[in-house]
Amino acid sequence: MAKRIEDLKILENKRITDDFFILELFSAENLTDIKPGQFVQVRVDGSSDTFLRRPISIHDVDFEKNTFKLLIQITGNGTEKLSKLRNGESLNIIYPLGNSFGLPGENEKVLLVGGGCGIAPLLFLGKHLKSIGYAPDILLGFRNSERIIEYEEYLKIGNVFLTTEDGSKGEKGFVTNHSVLSTAKYDKIYCCGPDSMMKAIAGYCRKNNMNCEVSLENLMACGIGACLCCIVDTVKGNLCTCTEGPVFNTTELKW
């Protein structure tokens, strides 16, 4: 459980679309304490525009190879710089950070809902759930068919349902409109994506009395509970997303 700061070796930097890439990182440390939903703080070196570390979810872990992956979207200077790193270079990372997703109850039916780069933490979660006997369904939303990523990876976990905003693949619209939500009955939903999506799913779950966990992406400075910048307003007052999250049960949030 101890957090550590380490220079990790980049085994592979793989561009998967125009604006998404996956970094595979090798560690000299034992990784078995990493749990689904946790994140890392990446140092983007030597740039005046990237003074602070960048928080990124742990996308997948290979306990055998002692590697883990980050799925990153290029949104600004920091992620742009990260996208240019070459295989063999190293990256200074603080990890593992944050809490983790809670387990479903016994025999509960589980759905993972992700949108855009919010799908990142769900792969590791899905694999873990499958490995301990659950059969999660997965519902993914994208802007259009060209922006679909990691589809094959999620297929390995369970049934994958798709929406695109323009209907170019899967059902047309937002994830909350997908027919699976009205046909299947889930006990627990895990969601990560844009705030608007998570709020819609949270509302849906509240109405249908389902248990729902979301992973928040608040702006962070330290990532270790020292600065109090990343707070979210909860029923228990302001909590730090970096230590008491990023995963919150929606009953805790004032959504």
């Binding site: 003074f51 330290c222 270790i224 600065c227 302001n238």
Partner: protein, 305 residues
Amino acid sequence: MVNLGFSIGDLDFKNPVLTASGTFGYGPEFDDFLDVSRLGGIFVKGTTLEPREGNLYPRMAETPSGMLNAVGLQNKGIDYFEKNIYPRISGYDTNVIVNINGSYIGDYVALAERINALDKIPAIELNISCPNVKMGGMAFGTNPGSAREVTKAVRAVYGKKLIVKLSPNVTNIVDFARIVEEEGADSISLINTLLGMSVDVRKMKPALSTITGGLSGPAIKPVALRMVWQVAKEVKIPVIGMGGIMTTSDALEFILAGATAVQVGTASFIDPQASIKILEGIEKYLIEKGFSDIKDIVGYINRNS
């Protein structure tokens, strides 16, 4: 070996590397990364009499070589501190110092009295410089009369070491330093954050919920250094310098300019081990330059000019 120790009156510090309030939590947040007891001292989170929720999100914005924060003194209040935090941190083998804040002079006085009673807290840092609260804070630190009054009132009830933390958002920092020295401060720490602002051009609105916030990090180092130099020349009590210290070299700039000790702030967010690395670096520098005592280089640049 070189001597790194210094003292404020009869309070000894094992070395001059301290951590800045609000950037190091209470200490345990960093236990995984370093042995907190190796530091000269830690200045814990800004504490108030009553619990405070602080300002609304977003509270943070990145700026060139720095960051803005508008935390606004979120903390659980002195009761909670005494009961739940004090027991956890009083085992550290270093000076644990509480940063105290209030909206009225009475708040500061009441807090100082409470902390006076805590055995393992040898000093307080009187924060009259928080830019992120509507009442109190910087209002005390930018008005000479208020700065005098609050220092005098706290001094009257607080028997241990009193460190007053100054605001850089003033025309003449030396005036404030002289005032708090006159009123019995045992040491002065500076600088707190510079009042700054950032605009989200895409969203066409301020980046912070509070519009303005406190600027910290390397960006402010030249201003901090200038103020520390100005103050150290004019007061007799030890000056603790801070503002943008990321590396050994940064810390040494402050010490050479007159700071008896330094606080590492924002740097701990980027490298949680920054403080320890700086401590090791200072020792190495002294050895390389052939000095046997940190005191030999405090204010060194003033001796030759």
